[in-house]
């Protein structure tokens, strides 16, 4: 296939990707958009495979079969609750691929002096650097979300200095390649440095901040892909990569705003590390009111307005379907049921919406934070299901709290609050929650699923 024809067909691919993103503006056409994007991708692959002078088809085919099987099986098997780590994993392999492309291209061209232009060298370095950081960082994010590594921030003295130094060294090595000898071992060092930096960069970030990290790493892989486009002079890579880069950046900013924290604070703040001391003190001398499923069932059955606030605990307990069953029982009794969804509920932006959609909860019952907060003062019972930090009033009242200033769902404004929780342990961020000690709060200590099953059984008897 000639270069002009293939570039034209790559343009078609670009258009399908843009349409795929445009169609995501409504759930109705979103799936069609995804199919379009997949079609565009298939086209790009076919065009590339029919490139003039391409060799090594056997190896390429083998690699594609292996990749496709792994990807398809992984994607089919994964549970919706484990979606964030799956996205992190796929994101990481994309970044890894970009870094490997840079490595291979450099190895191929470097031995002949003058074959690599300045802009190509910069592109190779960026692709290698960003791709490696994205790969290593995503793998750590995956390990953290999968509980292979502790979700708590892992910190050590001199961390920031060490990390900055490491990144600085990688950049200096890159400059050495750009202006000095195009030695391959130098690029190898850059790769190792970037991989190490990727690991150390994500390790200190707590699990609660993972939505921000994943969307940032997503942007990184996009940038790495765009850089690869400059190496190989392929516009399709530049445009697609930058679309992803822009998307990831925008989502990262939105997430930061939803937590009222700057991106630097999320990335370098090692959030949640200092709260163990004050939290222990705060628990002294305050009592918690424990309740039973029967009591809560009566409360709910005779309420007029009920708001459920689901958090990651609900997802972990796989209780999305039970909450819908409970909501339907209540609606049959004439109770008005709504769901209050915090933007960072779950482990990914919008994760909770996906989980509730999986359980067939209708859209029109899902209220975003800004829409549910004005309704809470008129709400009879707010039921917190495995959420913690996103309903913590300390974010509003306690300037000393690490989450001070973060917008929350103001459940403490409701007439009664029921917190379904397994134990008194603090949330993912490790912060004590004064809501639990509020006199209008009743704690129902149970796994979200057991609690909901108990409530359903009790309500049927009321």
């Amino acid at each position: 296939m000639g270069a002009n024809l293939s570039n034209f067909l790559y343009l078609v691919t670009i258009v399908t990707f843009i349409l795929a993103l445009r169609f995501l503006s409504s759930p109705r056409r979103a799936r069609l958009g995804n199919w379009l994007g997949a079609g565009g991708m298939a086209l790009a692959i076919v065009v590339t495979l029919s490139r003039e002078g391409l060799e090594g088809y056997g190896l390429i085919a083998l690699a594609m079969v292996i990749g496709a099987v792994v990807g398809a099986v992984g994607a089919r098997r994964v549970k919706m609750t484990a979606m964030p780590q799956m996205v992190a994993l796929f994101n990481g392999v994309g970044g890894g691929a970009a870094a490997l492309i840079a490595l291979a291209e450099f190895h191929n061209l470097a031995p002949e002096p003058g074959r690599i232009g300045g802009d190509e060298t910069v592109a190779i370095l960026l692709s290698a650097l960003i791709g490696s950081v994205s790969f290593a960082g995503s793998m750590v994010a995956f390990a953290k979300l999968q509980d292979l590594v502790s979700g708590r921030p892992i910190v050590y003295p001199g961390q920031k200095v060490g990390n900055s130094l490491l990144l600085g060294i990688a950049v200096v090595l890159g400059l050495a390649i750009l202006f000095g000898p195009q030695e391959q071992w130098l690029l190898g060092l850059v790769l190792v440095g970037a991989l190490l930096f990727g690991v150390l960069f994500v390790l200190p970030i707590g699990g609660a901040d993972m939505p921000v990290v994943i969307s940032l790493l997503n942007a990184f892989t996009g940038l790495a892909a765009a850089a690869t486009g400059f190496v190989l002079h392929l516009n399709v890579l530049i445009v697609s990569g930058m679309l992803v880069g822009a998307s990831g950046t925008l989502l990262t900013i939105l997430m930061g705003r939803a937590m009222n924290r700057s991106i630097t604070n999320v990335l370098f703040g090692a959030f949640g590390q200092v709260v163990a001391g004050p939290a222990a003190d705060a628990a002294d001398g305050r009592s918690v009111r424990s309740t039973t499923a029967e009591d809560v069932a009566v409360m709910l059955a005779y309420a007029r307005r009920v708001v459920f606030v689901p958090g990651y605990g609900l997802a972990v307990a796989q209780a999305q379907h039970d909450v819908r069953a409970l909501a339907e029982l209540l609606e049959e009794r004439g109770v008005e049921v709504k769901y209050g969804i915090h933007p960072v509920a779950g482990r990914m932006p919008g994760h909770m919406n996906v989980l509730l959609a999986e359980a067939n909860v209708p859209y029109d019952q899902l209220y975003e934070m800004e829409r549910i907060n004005p309704e809470l003062p008129q709400t009879d019972v707010a039921v917190i299901l495995g959420a913690n930090d996103v309903v913590n009033p300390a974010a509003r009242s306690d300037p000393g709290s690490p989450i001070y200033g973060m917008p929350i769902i103001e459940v403490d404004k409701a007439a009664t609050v029921v917190v379904v929780k397994r134990s008194m342990s603090p949330g993912f961020a490790g912060i004590d929650n004064p809501l639990f000690y509020d006199e209008k709060t009743a704690m129902l200590f149970a796994d979200a699923k057991n609690a909901l099953e108990g409530l359903i059984a009790s309500i049927k008897e009321v």
Partner: protein, 130 residues
């Protein structure tokens, strides 16, 4: 094309500026398109863009299949193709699974008063809460 002669250099600069133009336009387009995606669909958005950056598969195939590649390049290219394919296939399949769940539930919503919890596909007895 890559020789350091002045003519060659000029062509390469022109090509670079062209690519840079495309890059900058793509950034603005990206922000424009993404800002219209509702919060509800942010997870599918992330997973969808995740699939899109799998386009590095194009680069991986080009590198792996170069006619002048030695064994090292072939092996590294092989790994790159495998990783990129996993990215592409996994990304699109996961996104499809998510979007499948968002499908077809707008139709049943009809005739809801401000206080009613009734949805069209299910008859709800008149409010008799007590």
């Amino acid at each position: 094309m890559r020789d350091a002669a002045r003519g060659g250099a000029r062509i390469e600069t022109a090509q670079f500026i062209g690519e840079l133009t495309v890059l900058v336009l793509a950034i603005f387009l990206g922000f424009e398109v993404i800002s219209k995606v509702p919060t509800m669909l942010h997870t599918p958005l992330m997973s969808g863009t995740n699939a899109i950056h799998g386009i590095v598969i194009v680069g991986a195939i080009v590198v792996a299949g170069q006619s002048d590649a030695d064994t090292f390049t072939r092996i590294v290219g092989f790994l790159a193709v495998a990783l990129a394919t996993a990215n592409v296939v996994g990304g699109f399949v996961v996104t499809d699974r998510m979007l499948e769940m968002f499908k077809g539930r707008e139709a049943p919503v009809r005739g809801r008063g401000p206080g009613g919890g009734a949805r069209g596909n299910r008859e709800v007895p008149p409010a008799s809460s007590t």
